[in-house]
Symmetry: C2
Amino acid sequence: MAKSHSKYIMERKLILISNDDGVHAPGLHRLVEAVSTLGDIVVVAPDGPRSGQSSAMTVNGPLRVIEHSEYIQAKVFSVTGTPVDCIKLAMNNILTRRPDLVLAGINHGSNAGVNILYSGTMGAVLEGCLQGIPAVGFSLLHHSMQADFTESMPIAKMIVEKVLADGLPHDVCLNVNFPAKVKIEGVKTVRAARSHWTEEYKEYVDPHGKPFYWLTGGLINEEPEATDTDLYWLDRNYATIVPSTPSQNAMDAMAIVNGLFDL
Amino acid sequence: MAKSHSKYIMERKLILISNDDGVHAPGLHRLVEAVSTLGDIVVVAPDGPRSGQSSAMTVNGPLRVIEHSEYIQAKVFSVTGTPVDCIKLAMNNILTRRPDLVLAGINHGSNAGVNILYSGTMGAVLEGCLQGIPAVGFSLLHHSMQADFTESMPIAKMIVEKVLADGLPHDVCLNVNFPAKVKIEGVKTVRAARSHWTEEYKEYVDPHGKPFYWLTGGLINEEPEATDTDLYWLDRNYATIVPSTPSQNAMDAMAIVNGLFDL
């Protein structure tokens, strides 16, 4: 019996969870709840909001790790850095074994279209992927801390179960977005729409007469008719799965660029 | 004569230059010098070092813009944010016309291999590319502020001349790295090597007995025999040009992932 118990322990999956809204964000707690029966959960998340942190890491300063009370049965740590710092520190200094899966989210706000490039949530996911671990990021198209994740949670669980069972192709992670509306029509595997932000800064004058700027603006879908994109299906209340990669090699352009420089 | 003078003014190229080492970094000044005859130069760079900032942007705070003295004939501004903030603010609030080219660097340190993902220099370049502007990042494999850019400068100028003349494919920018050694053997157009960082944190104890961590470690080339990568040729004292893209769609994996979820 002892042997079989030990085997059971060995076979428990280890799931590392991070985010960019910080260790206290409701979306993180909902993700822990959604997958809590699927393995041992360790949360390593920033100690506060780190939205828009992309794959930033803390190069020239110290990082601290704080242990919190368990949430459900998940161990919970916070880090005084970025989402990428969380994954790196978890892998190197916090976890006692290599995780089977890296998750991030559920983000309060969209990471569809071009947003993946700026997203700290997806920064954590890309970092997991780079380290050879299947990784999935989850985001809800609603910024509020009171956002309703009820419909997102079973879909997140379904996706995690499949990835734990079948893995993902090498160098590929998933960027999952849920529509803001409560009734989710279905799930689509698509690519990220070409898109950009517009009207990006509001200008202010401080009490001493000096100007400052604050980021704002809206996301423009540059290809609204394309039916194979995340922005298209999120608009129609579908959840979207975008296979994503940390590689930024433009392999299709190699011959053209080589020709340009005639080398 | 007035008409022809006006035509000349209209045809002057506008080159926007940023970096992640900050507005005072020697590598930035060397890049301005290298391309100063090729157009009107405007520098918009962080007010201090922002290494490892990737495509991070300042979402939840104010940004200030400071105008500095001209350098050679370049206008120089600094921003209290990230390299991406610099490009966005330049495009939206500083420049009076759309630039013909976005450059970043010359970075003090390598952006070869996986480093592109974390690089603030390449964050600025990817942002220019996203906005539809030809964009090139330059980096030298030497971290010192006393690094010697003498051999890098004419190669940077050659690359900028070709890109100004011929443009780049849509959604493609260039990540150029120069070897640290003074004698550069040539230039190669290649892909970024699959690579990762190892032994990533040094652990310390502060004067009050509490631990903290500091990023360190070395870059491991996972495919040292592959002759079509940047790390291979930089090791052999060649400069490397990597055609890069802000897109992180894993198009090759679309069918596999779609099959996984059987949607």
